[in-house]
């Protein structure tokens, strides 16, 4: 039985409308309070000291000098740091990592916190940190993927299989008429949301209040409660606004724990905000990968095998392995599929989830490898993808819950003008003599759901309050979720008081995996439906109501009135129904998660096709993406304006991945040499021109009640490969590393 929309809902009144961000004005006028904007009375500042070496031991800290500095109140080191009640190596929640919080004097990566200074002012804390003047015993750091030994591990990403095989890959290789065997590298990328990680921690007895950006509010409560030995209800997390999360703000990190510890120790509120440089280490990153792809095809271009092997770098003390090779599962109809992960341990901070973890890196390489195969087969790259179009999920044979990828290819190609693309590289020049190249890639992202709950209360005056601890990372959840809630209650948006972004509300789940709108939205939809159901029951049983006795026909809720389904002449305002029934409020609740039976029976993914144009100076090799067209099918679009901006954002990250982002390690010293935004490049406005997004209509009766698939991450996938392929098409040069740099084109 497919999930279907609650029959009372009239989508389109609010959902589906391009409502502007409800928090937009507050953000552009600076009145939105982000975590670090909170400055409670009597507050102290905490600053951690990052390790300057990547491997070894701290042998000396001048704690006397630091403590003697005016304004410094406390200096925490492994010698005097108060105990934690939960072990930092434990994983109390799904998104837990072992973190570094002064357990011992060893240094496991450059940038690791090795001491904490607490002071009356930020300046004093900074100076205290400098005065600590650490001494080290250095060991040779291992930060080069080439120098490291592989190790055995159980899972890739968060609990994904390390190896997956469908069919017989060896037979697939043996029967291939054409084959390619290529190895690509992707660089480590470090989380650098506009808002760096920040916390203001305050203890009252054994109750802890945290102003902090969090993508997973109730999980944060549970995690911090565990480490500090208090019940989860005793932790209040307030996270009304985030300046971006991208996966890194779902996770309790060492610096947070140290700040909270300092607050408990001093009995005063403590604020900590990471500097830009401090973002390069303790708060996660997209792990470096080296990926080998072996593809085989018969003479007509049908894939006999996709054999994808990824080596990922992880830390010495935890084991998040970038699940890149999984990006080859579930997308093309190959005779055999094999995804293999290997990993090496380096003296680096632990990698973690970053927007499209696995899919971004894996799809980048898969899409380029396919392009290489298309070239070998003499096929148009799009034609090759269509020849291998999967009507059912490859490997499992499951039907897709919905899949409008063919339409994405067609509409994207049409908008882009793909048909006039010459097959051979180096054929196109613009009016200024710049090389022009066109490339494409398939976009693909699964649609997971988490678990969420919500309450809705309809008041006598036909306004409502809805509650869930959902999170707006900047993606627009405050707006899209409120639209869903309003429709589910049959009310205009401005009649609904939307409460979210803090603990103490029903669990809104995790803003991650591109599943937040589906999950929290599903819970809100169910809660609203519960209210309307109760309201209908009251009206149908009330002889004074025009709706009396109409219960069997069902009702449609719209604009604060209930209508008899199929007979619009019979209706009554909520206010009248409630007034007669004694004027009481009606409270409802709901929850949402993936229905296990539909998940078992269907493959569920969002799809898309991205087309890229690059221009390259033929002599100087400077590159620019001049056009990107992305056509995406992602189920129901709740807010086209916000969905488009999410897809834009993903595609811009695709530019970043393809051409810019790279943390560069000095392997001799083991540290990252470009740990600031002057050296660690992301695209600027001038790098982004001609973005075009098409959302392809798609109805999905299985994926969840609302038919939502999610748009947060898919934009990166497809885009990186499309750009790499366009660069080849412009120059005839195949650069097998990301980001692609000027020197790569000059020397290849």
């Amino acid at each position: 039985m497919p999930d279907t929309l609650d029959p009372h809902v009239r989508f389109g009144s609010n959902s589906g409308q391009p409502v502007t961000r409800r928090d937009g004005l507050a953000k552009v006028t600076g009145t939105a309070t982000f975590a670090a904007d909170n400055t409670p009375d009597n507050m102290l500042y905490a600053v951690f000291v990052p390790a300057a070496i990547a491997r070894g031991r701290v042998t000396g800290l001048d704690t006397e000098a630091a403590a003697a500095h005016p304004g410094v109140t406390h200096v925490l080191t492994p010698q005097n740091r108060p105990p934690l009640q939960g072990d930092p190596s434990d994983k109390p929640t799904m998104f837990s990592f072992r973190f570094e919080a002064l357990q011992d004097d060893s240094v496991r990566y450059a940038g690791q916190p090795i001491a904490l200074v607490v002071a009356e002012t930020l300046e004093a804390a900074n100076e205290g940190a400098r005065l600590l003047n650490p001494k080290y015993e250095r060991l040779t750091p291992r930060t080069d993927i080439d120098d490291a030994e592989p190790y055995a591990f159980e899972a890739a990403g968060f609990g994904l299989p390390a190896n997956t095989v469908h069919g017989n890959p060896e037979a697939g290789h043996a029967s291939a008429a054409q084959a390619i065997d290529v190895t690509y590298e992707t660089a480590p990328q470090y989380h650098n949301a506009m808002e760096t990680h920040a916390v203001v921690a305050k203890w009252e007895g054994d109750h802890l209040t945290l102003d902090m950006p969090s993508q997973a509010i109730s999980m944060s409560c549970a995690g911090f409660a565990y480490y500090f030995g208090i019940p989860a209800e005793n932790v209040t997390v307030r996270s009304p606004y985030l300046g971006g999360g991208f996966g890194s703000k779902a996770i309790p990190t060492g610096p947070y724990v140290l700040a909270i510890l300092a607050a408990r120790m001093t009995g005063r509120p403590v604020k900590m905000m990471l500097t830009r440089q401090q973002m390069f280490g303790p708060v996660g990153h997209r792990g470096q990968t080296r990926q080998r792809l072996r593809l085989g095809a018969d003479d007509t271009g049908r894939l006999t095998v996709i054999d994808h092997e990824g080596i990922a770098a992880t830390s010495t003390f935890d084991d998040f392995v970038e699940p890149a090779a999984n990006a080859s599962q579930g997308i093309y109809a190959a005779g055999a599929l094999r995804s293999t992960h290997r990993a090496v341990k380096l003296d680096i901070g632990t990698p973690g989830p970053m927007r499209a973890p696995g899919e971004a890196s894996g799809s980048a390489v898969l899409e380029c490898a396919l392009d290489e195969l298309a070239e070998k087969l003499g096929l148009d790259p799009l034609e090759l993808r269509l020849k291998n179009y999967a009507e059912t999920e490859p490997g499992t044979g499951k039907p897709y819950s919905s899949k409008a990828l063919r339409e994405c290819y067609a509409q994207g190609a049409e908008r882009f003008g793909w048909n006039s693309r010459p097959r051979a590289p180096g054929q196109m020049r613009d009016e200024d003599g710049l090389l022009v190249g066109w490339g494409m890639g398939t976009a693909f992202f699964p649609c997971p759901m988490f678990m969420a709950e919500a309450n809705a209360t309809l008041r006598a005056d036909s306004t409502a309050v809805v509650e869930t601890s959902a999170v707006d990372m900047g993606q627009g959840a405050w707006t899209a979720l409120a639209q869903i809630a309003a429709d589910s209650l049959g009310l205009p948006l401005d009649k609904v008081d939307f409460q979210a972004g803090r603990s103490g509300l029903p669990d809104g789940g995790v803003a991650g995996g591109s599943g937040h709108t589906a999950t929290a939205g599903g819970a809100l939809h169910a809660a609203g439906g519960d209210v309307i159901r109760q309201l209908g029951e009251i009206a149908a049983a009330d002889p004074d109501s025009p709706l009396y006795g109409a219960g069997n026909a069902g009702f449609v809720a719209r604009d604060g009135r209930l209508y008899v389904a199929g007979d619009e002449s019979r209706s009554e305002a909520y206010t009248d129904i409630l007034a007669r029934s004694g004027g009481a409020e009606i409270a409802g609740n709901g929850s949402a998660s993936r229905a296990p039976e539909t998940a078992e029976q269907h493959a569920m993914n969002a799809h898309g096709a991205v087309f890229a144009e690059v221009k390259i100076d033929p002599d100087l090799c400077q590159m620019r993406v001049t056009r990107l067209v992305g056509a995406f099918a992602a189920g129901r679009i709740i807010n086209p304006r916000l969905a488009e901006s999410q897809l834009f954002g993903g595609m811009i990250w695709g530019i970043s991945f393809a051409l810019h982002e790279e943390a560069r390690h000095d392997h001799k010293r083991g540290h990252i040499v470009n740990a600031d935004l002057a050296g660690y490049h992301v695209p600027v406005n001038a790098d982004v021109s001609g973005l075009d997004v098409i959302t392809v209509h798609e109805e999905d009766p299985y994926v969840n009640a609302l038919g939502i698939k999610g748009v947060g991450e898919i934009g990166i996938t497809g885009t990186v490969g499309a750009i790499g392929n366009a660069i080849w098409h412009a120059t005839g040069k195949r650069v097998r590393r990301f980001p692609i740099r000027i020197e790569d084109l000059l020397t290849s």
Partner: protein, 350 residues
């Protein structure tokens, strides 16, 4: 951040009197404050010079030279009508540097004095002869975008300024005043090559303050054929991987005088005198420009894994000369100094 004394003098005399060893002049602060925050510079005394009177003007002197005060902000200088008309490649170079916000703050004096972007100079935990004489140079093994010309075993850093490249080509003169009185320094002698003494980066003596910059009257004679070109990792807001300022004086279809300076290849903006000599008197052709660029880079040698950069610098020089030969555009392109600058219909993103 280390504690320091903060002084805001209101006259040049007061400022000079306030100086003592360990003090630093503060202009726009876009470079100095960053370095102080990361601990790469630790002055005991910071002397804010932005209130000094008489250092913010741009004037044309009676002999035709253009004099620019040390406190003129990079943005103001770039849009000044005289500069845009008479010294177009100076304006173009300025507009290709940093971002609008930074240019609004950055001063002429600060730009002339800006420190290298060598990652190890900026990292107080790294060994760097420039920061600490005799400490060694961690960039020697790891820097791959470093100097090609005039480097030494002691230091392979480059000067990152865009502005200084056309200044070098145009024979700018820097007016300074210090404890010993006033003097003038020709731009070619202002920035120093590292040699055995990498910590000495400019000819400025301790306690000397830059008051102004002067472009000689001849500088304006190149206005019709003067371009700055900058190759970089992203379309805007990135330091140069290589750059070139090329200026030609054309008479009857031949080059009567030529100027060429290269950026991001040495510890100073690199004036290419031999190349200029080859160009003078010749007809402007690509083959000639290629020979000139080869001459400019004849002495270049990789300082690390950067042999490719020699090729890039050569190509940059050739292109800049071609652009100069084509003539200065009526308006600075929306993407100044960019290989994408001439694209029709481009928006002013930079």
């Amino acid at each position: 951040m280390k504690r320091f004394e903060f002084i805001q003098p209101s006259s040049v005399e007061e400022a000079l009197a306030a100086w003592e060893p360990g003090a630093a002049w503060l202009g726009g602060g876009t470079n100095l404050l960053d370095l102080m925050k990361i601990g790469a510079m630790q002055p005991d005394r910071v002397i804010d010079i932005t209130r000094l009177p008489g250092l913010s003007g741009i004037e044309t002197l009676s002999d035709g030279s253009i004099r620019i005060g040390a406190l003129v902000r990079n943005s103001d200088l770039a849009v000044n009508a005289t500069v845009a008309r008479d010294l177009p490649m100076v304006a173009e170079a300025l507009l290709s540097g940093a971002s609008g916000q930074l240019r609004n703050a950055a001063t002429v004096g600060g730009n002339l004095m800006q420190h290298t972007r060598c990652n190890y100079f900026q990292d107080p935990h790294a060994a760097c002869n420039r920061r600490e004489p005799g400490a060694g140079c961690d960039a020697r093994e790891a820097g791959d975008r470093m100097a090609l010309l005039g480097w030494s075993d002691g230091c392979i850093a480059t000067n990152p300024s865009d502005f200084c490249v056309p200044l070098a080509a145009l024979d700018a003169v820097i007016e300074v005043r210090g404890p010993q009185g006033a003097r003038e320094i020709h731009v070619s002698e202002f920035h120093l090559l590292p040699g055995d003494n990498p910590q000495r980066v400019t000819a400025l003596e301790p306690g000397e303050l830059i008051l102004a910059l002067r472009l000689p009257p001849e500088a304006t004679a190149f206005a019709g054929h003067a371009r700055y070109l900058k190759v970089r990792d992203r379309t805007s807001f990135a330091f140069a991987m290589s750059s070139a300022a090329a200026a030609l004086k054309m008479e009857d279809g031949r080059i009567s005088d030529a100027r060429l300076a290269l950026g991001a290849v040495a510890a100073k903006p690199w004036r290419a005198a031999e190349a200029e000599a080859m160009l003078s008197g010749a007809a402007p052709e690509e083959a000639l420009f290629t020979r000139a660029a080869d001459a400019a880079l004849a002495e270049a040698k990789p300082s690390g894994d950067n042999a490719w950069k020699i090729d890039l610098a050569r190509r940059t020089a050739v292109r800049a000369l071609l652009m100069a030969a084509a003539g200065t555009p009526a308006r600075i392109p929306a993407l100044p100094a960019s290989p994408f600058g001439s694209k029709v219909g481009d928006l002013a993103h930079a």
